[in-house]
C-alpha cells in the first residue's frame, strides 16, 4: 500500500506536483494517468525518495522509503528504461542490484528468463533497443519479488506482443495480492489494464475512481443527427419527449434512443436527414476532456473533473482523441 498525503513539489516557482493525496491499494492495478508534464514521473520519484518533496509525505506500507532496509524486497520500480550503465551487461546490472539487497544470485537468472532476455544476458546494454531496455528495467523491478510494483510508462518502446505481455504481467502481479501502480498517458492502455484510476493534470488530482465507475460515468453513446431543417427536427424530437443536445457543427445529439427509431420519426414528419449516425464517446475523449479541463479549472481552484455528460461533448478534446487513435494504431 502506498499512501500519499499532500505531496507537493516546487521547482523554483513552478508547482510540478500540487497537494496530491491518494492511496494505492494492494490486489489491484492502479493506473496513474495524466498528459505529458502532468507530474507523474516527479510523483513517482518522490515516492521512491529520489526527489525530496517540498511538502507532504509518502508512506510505503506505513514507512518512509528511506527507512526500508532492503527496499527491493518491498518495492520494485521501473522508472526509466535507460537508467543503466551502457557498458555493463544485463546480467551484471541485475547482479549488482541483487547483491545490494542480499537477494540470491539465482534470482537474476529467473527474472532474465521471465522478461525473455536470457539470450542477451551477457551483452552490454548499450546495444539494447528501447524495448529491451524496458524489459531489463522490468526484470530489475521484479528482482526482489516485491509486494509493491511501480512502472512508469512501461509500454514505451515495446512491440504489440510485448505490450500484451506486460499487460498480463501487471494483472497477474495484482492478482497475487501485490500493489501495482502504473503510469501512462494513454487512456486506452489503462482501460485494458487498470482496475482503479488516478488522474492528474498540472500536478493536481483530477480523479481518483475505480475504472468501472469511470467508464460508467464517461462512456456515452448517442446518435448524431443533421438536417437542413434543424429547428423543425429539434421541435419534433422535443415533441416526442426526446432530449436533444446541440453538437458539433450544428448537429444534434440524442442520447438513449435507437437510430432506427429516430430515422423513422424523421421520415414520418418528412424531414430530410443529412446524417443519422450512432456514436460512442471514447474513454480517450473523456480523459481529454478531463485533463483539458484542468487548465480551465486551475483558475477557479476547482479540482472537480467535468464528469457529467451534460458537459459539452464536443469539447476541444474530441478532435485530438480521434487523431490519437490514428497514431496509436
Amino acid at each position: 500500500m502506498i499512501e500519499l498525503e499532500g505531496l507537493t513539489k516546487h521547482y523554483s516557482d513552478v508547482r510540478a506536483v500540487d497537494h496530491l493525496t491518494f492511496t494505492v491499494r494492494p490486489g489491484i492495478v492502479t493506473g496513474f494517468l495524466g498528459p505529458n508534464g502532468a507530474g507523474k514521473s516527479t510523483t513517482m520519484r518522490m515516492m521512491l525518495d529520489l526527489d525530496n518533496p517540498s511538502s507532504g509525505t509518502v508512506r510505503i506500507d506505513g514507512r518512509h522509503y528511506r527507512e526500508l532496509r532492503d527496499p527491493l524486497r518491498v518495492v520494485g520500480a521501473l522508472l526509466d528504461a535507460k537508467a543503466m550503465h551502457g557498458g555493463r551487461s544485463a546480467y551484471n546490472h541485475l547482479l549488482c542490484l541483487a547483491q545490494s539487497n542480499g537477494i540470491p544470485k539465482a534470482r537474476v537468472r529467473e527474472v532474465l528468463d521471465t522478461v525473455g532476455l536470457t539470450s542477451v544476458a551477457r551483452k552490454r546494454t548499450k546495444g539494447f533497443s528501447l524495448g529491451m531496455g524496458q524489459r531489463l528495467g522490468i526484470a530489475a523491478a521484479l528482482l526482489g519479488d516485491p509486494r509493491i510494483l511501480m512502472f512508469d510508462e512501461p509500454v514505451n518502446g515495446l512491440d504489440p506482443e510485448g505490450i500484451h505481455w506486460i499487460r498480463n504481467l501487471m494483472k497477474s502481479l495484482a492478482t497475487q495480492g501485490r500493489t501495482v501502480f502504473v503510469s501512462s498517458h494513454l487512456m486506452s492502455e489503462m482501460a485494458l489494464t487498470a482496475d482503479h484510476l488516478v488522474v492528474i493534470g498540472q500536478g493536481k488530482l483530477l480523479a481518483d475512481t475505480s475504472m468501472t465507475d469511470f467508464i460508467k460515468e464517461n462512456s456515452r453513446s448517442y446518435v448524431r443527427m443533421r438536417s437542413p431543417e434543424q429547428e423543425r427536427l429539434r421541435e419534433i424530437l422535443r415533441g416526442a419527449g426526446i432530449d436533444v443536445t446541440p453538437g458539433e457543427e450544428g448537429a444534434l445529439e440524442v442520447e438513449g434512443e435507437d437510430a432506427a427509431h429516430l430515422g423513422e420519426l424523421a421520415a414520418r414528419h418528412r424531414i430530410t436527414l443529412h446524417e443519422l449516425s450512432p456514436r460512442s464517446a471514447s474513454l480517450e475523449e473523456a480523459f481529454m476532456r478531463l485533463t483539458a479541463g484542468s487548465v480551465e479549472y486551475h483558475a477557479h481552484e476547482n479540482h472537480r473533473p467535468p464528469e457529467s455528460p451534460a458537459q459539452s461533448p464536443a469539447g476541444p478534446g474530441a478532435g485530438w482523441g480521434a487523431d490519437w487513435r490514428k497514431k496509436g494504431s
Binding site: 532492503d70 557498458g87 528468463d113 525473455g116 506482443e161 499487460r167 495480492g177 501485490r178 462512456s219 496509436g328
Partner: protein
C-alpha cells in the same frame, strides 16, 4: 508446483529462446497467454486489438474481481489469499557488506575500470623502469656522493603522471552513475545515501590501493636492481613509504576525486576540478614568484599534491610536511570532501 507457462505456447516470439524452462517465480513469460486468474473481464482484454483506442460500448463492462482468489488451485508460489503478497524468497537484512559486494560487481564489470587501471600500471611501471635504465646507462644520478639518496625516487615520475588515471577513475566511479541515470536505480535499491557512498569509497580505495601497491613495489624492486648501486641503500621505512605510502596517498587522492564527482555530478567538470586541485598550487606559486608573498608561495609549493607525493620519496622542497604527514593531511581533506558528498547526496534530488 506447476506454473501455467509450462503448457505449450505457440505464440512465442523471437525474444524467447527455445527450450526455456518455465520461470521459477511463476511470472508469465513474454508472449505467453495470461493465466486464467488474471482477473480480466472478457469484455476488456478479449477481442480488443492491442494498443487501440478504447471506444466504450454502452453496455456495462463486466466488473472485475481481482482481489478474489483465482479459479482452481493457486498457480502462484507464495500467494496470499487476500491483501498483501508474501514472497517465497528468504528475506534477510541488507548490510554495508551487501552494498560493497554490489559496488565491486559494478566497478569490475565496466571496461573503463580496466582501461584506467591498466594505463595507470603501465605509466608507473613503464616510466619507472625507463628512468632506472636511463640513470643506469648514464651511470649518474646527478647527485654528489655526500647527498646520495636511494634510487627509489625514480618512481616518482610514473606515480605523479598516473595520478591522472586515479583521478579519472575516482570521478567516473560516481559521476558516470549520474551521467547514465543509473544513480536513480542505485538509490532505489539502497536509499541509504551514506551506505552507497561508503561502499563506493571502500571498493574504489581497496581496488586502487592494491593495484598501485603492486605497481609501485614492482618499480621499487626493479629500480633498486637496475640502478641501486648509484644511490644510498634504502632503509625499511624508505621502502615502505615508496610503495605502501605512495599507494595509500594516491588512493586517497582518488577517493577525493570520487567525492568531488559526487558533488559535481559531471564527469568532465569533476575531472577538471581535480586536475586544478593538483596543478593550481604550482601554477599559482610560479606567478607569486615575482611578488612579496614568498610565505604563501612556499606554502603552496610545499602542500601541493605533487610535493606531498615527493615526501614519500624523501624529496621535498623545504620544511613542509615530512615523514608520513601527507597521509594525515590527505585523509583529513578527503574526509571533509566525503562529508560534503554525503550532504549533497542526502539533500539534493537524485
Amino acid at each position: 508446483m506447476s506454473t501455467p507457462q509450462s503448457q505449450p505456447t505457440p505464440a512465442h516470439s523471437q525474444t524467447q529462446p527455445p527450450n526455456q524452462p518455465a520461470p521459477a517465480q511463476g511470472l508469465p513469460a513474454p508472449g505467453s497467454p495470461a493465466p486464467q486468474a488474471a482477473g480480466s473481464g472478457p469484455g476488456i482484454t478479449g477481442p480488443a486489438p492491442a494498443g487501440h483506442g478504447a471506444a466504450v460500448p454502452a453496455r456495462p463492462v463486466p466488473q472485475r474481481t481481482p482481489q478474489g482468489p483465482p479459479q482452481g488451485a493457486a498457480p502462484w508460489p507464495g500467494q496470499a489469499p487476500l491483501g498483501g503478497y508474501v514472497s517465497p524468497i528468504p528475506i534477510r537484512k541488507a548490510t554495508l557488506a551487501d552494498a560493497v559486494a554490489a559496488e565491486w560487481t559494478k566497478i569490475r564489470s565496466i571496461r573503463s575500470t580496466v582501461w584506467t587501471l591498466g594505463s595507470m600500471v603501465l605509466l608507473i611501471v613503464g616510466i619507472g623502469l625507463l628512468a632506472a635504465f636511463v640513470v643506469s646507462a648514464t651511470d649518474s644520478t646527478g647527485a654528489t656522493q655526500t647527498e646520495r639518496v636511494p634510487v627509489l625516487i625514480l618512481g616518482i615520475y610514473g606515480t605523479m603522471l598516473s595520478l591522472i588515471c586515479v583521478i579519472t577513475l575516482g570521478v567516473l566511479t560516481m559521476s558516470s552513475e549520474y551521467g547514465t541515470g543509473l544513480i536513480r536505480t542505485t538509490l532505489t535499491a539502497c536509499p541509504d545515501r551514506a551506505r552507497v557512498l561508503t561502499a563506493k569509497a571502500i571498493v574504489f580505495f581497496l581496488l586502487t590501493f592494491v593495484t598501485t601497491t603492486v605497481a609501485t613495489t614492482l618499480v621499487a624492486v626493479a629500480t633498486e636492481g637496475i640502478a641501486g648501486r648509484l644511490g644510498a641503500v634504502p632503509t625499511a621505512g624508505q621502502w615502505l613509504k615508496a610503495t605502501v605510502g605512495v599507494s595509500v596517498f594516491m588512493s586517497l587522492v582518488g577517493v577525493l576525486a570520487l567525492a568531488v564527482g559526487a558533488m559535481l555530478r559531471h564527469s568532465a567538470g569533476a575531472i577538471a576540478v581535480m586536475l586544478a586541485v593538483v596543478m593550481m598550487p604550482l601554477v599559482l606559486a610560479m606567478f607569486l614568484g615575482v611578488s612579496d608573498l614568498t610565505e604563501l608561495r612556499s606554502w603552496l609549493l610545499l602542500y601541493s599534491i605533487p610535493n606531498q607525493l615527493g615526501v614519500f620519496y624523501d624529496v621535498s622542497a623545504g620544511e613542509g610536511p615530512s615523514g608520513w604527514d601527507p597521509l594525515w593531511i590527505m585523509t583529513l581533506v578527503t574526509g571533509a570532501a566525503l562529508g560534503g558528498a554525503y550532504l549533497s547526496l542526502a539533500k539534493r534530488d537524485a
